[in-house]
Symmetry: C2
Subunit: 154 residues, 2 copies
DNA sequence: ATATCTGCAAAGACTTTGCATGAGA
DNA sequence: TCTCATGCAAAGTCTTTGCAGATAT
């Protein structure tokens, strides 16, 4: 969703205003929270953190803003199987990040791993190209998760 | 969950009785439905199909049975981002299958792809081994999804 | 016989929507 | 000014739970 009217260049850098969206206090606060954590926050987690600084901001606004961020590609939405969605900024200071996860089915702990990423990314690129062609899909994203038991839960 | 008391060998072949679970009509009906489709059924989808043959079977039982099948490893549970869980038999006639998906974010269509699987599986095995060691995780499963727009939705 | 399983209804958890008020450009 | 954004409350979805009756072994 580059522009809210459906036209224009893709939105890549979190420039709310460049896409015609208003940069409000709640939206900045939510971005700040996402930008200052390495956790995978749920909507409520985000709300609680925002709430500490801006008690007037409501959970509804958090949901709406997160959804907006997802639609614009600034944030990735994940589901780790615990019934609530998790959100993570799609890019760090170094540009678009990869979001490969190790999920503990015992305690729900989530580890972002970056090992082996290079090899994975290379293969994914090839696979993506092949799949795009074969199924005529325009692929925008991928997700890799490994599920298992962490040290404590084994 | 090999045995309901937590001991014994892993449950691999759908042998309900071998694990101490009762093989009832609803459970057989649900397995039949899962076994006769290539779709990714939600709990309600499953319920509707079961309901055609056995109108007395309730949605609650479908949820409970699917959860049981997931716990025993007979069925994989997926989330494709549309707010409802999807279920797929973990193994076909040829043994454990791989479940890599192409998800259309426009219409929700899901494609199981098997192209490039060999290369992917090989890389996944290596990655899995590396991650297991580094993070001391006992990895039991993996999930790969590509998200994008299908032919119609572009 | 008896521990499991089932169906219904109700409750629970997460998320979305309606609407009047408030705020950014 | 005039849309767009917000907050509250209510509603919507999917899923789980409590409990009495039914069933498999």
């Amino acid at each position: 969703m580059p522009w809210k009217d459906g036209t224009g260049p893709p939105w890549l850098q979190g420039k709310f205003k460049g896409c015609g969206y208003r940069l409000t206090v709640p939206r900045q606060a939510i971005l700040d929270v996402l930008n200052s954590t390495t956790e995978h926050l749920s909507a409520e987690d985000t709300y609680l953190k925002v709430h500490k600084v801006h008690p007037a901001i409501g959970l509804t606004t958090v949901y709406r803003t997160l959804e907006l961020l997802v639609q614009t590609g600034m944030v990735f939405k994940f589901d780790f199987g615990d019934g609530r969605a998790r959100y993570e900024l799609s890019e760090g200071p170094k540009g678009i990040g990869h979001h490969h996860h190790l999920v503990c089915t015992g305690c729900g702990r989530i580890i972002d791993y970056t090992d082996f990423i290079d090899e994975e990314v290379e293969l994914l690129k090839r696979t993506e190209k092949g799949l795009s062609k074969k199924y005529n899909f325009k692929i925008t994203n991928h997700m890799i998760q490994f599920h298992g038991l962490c040290e404590k839960c084994q």
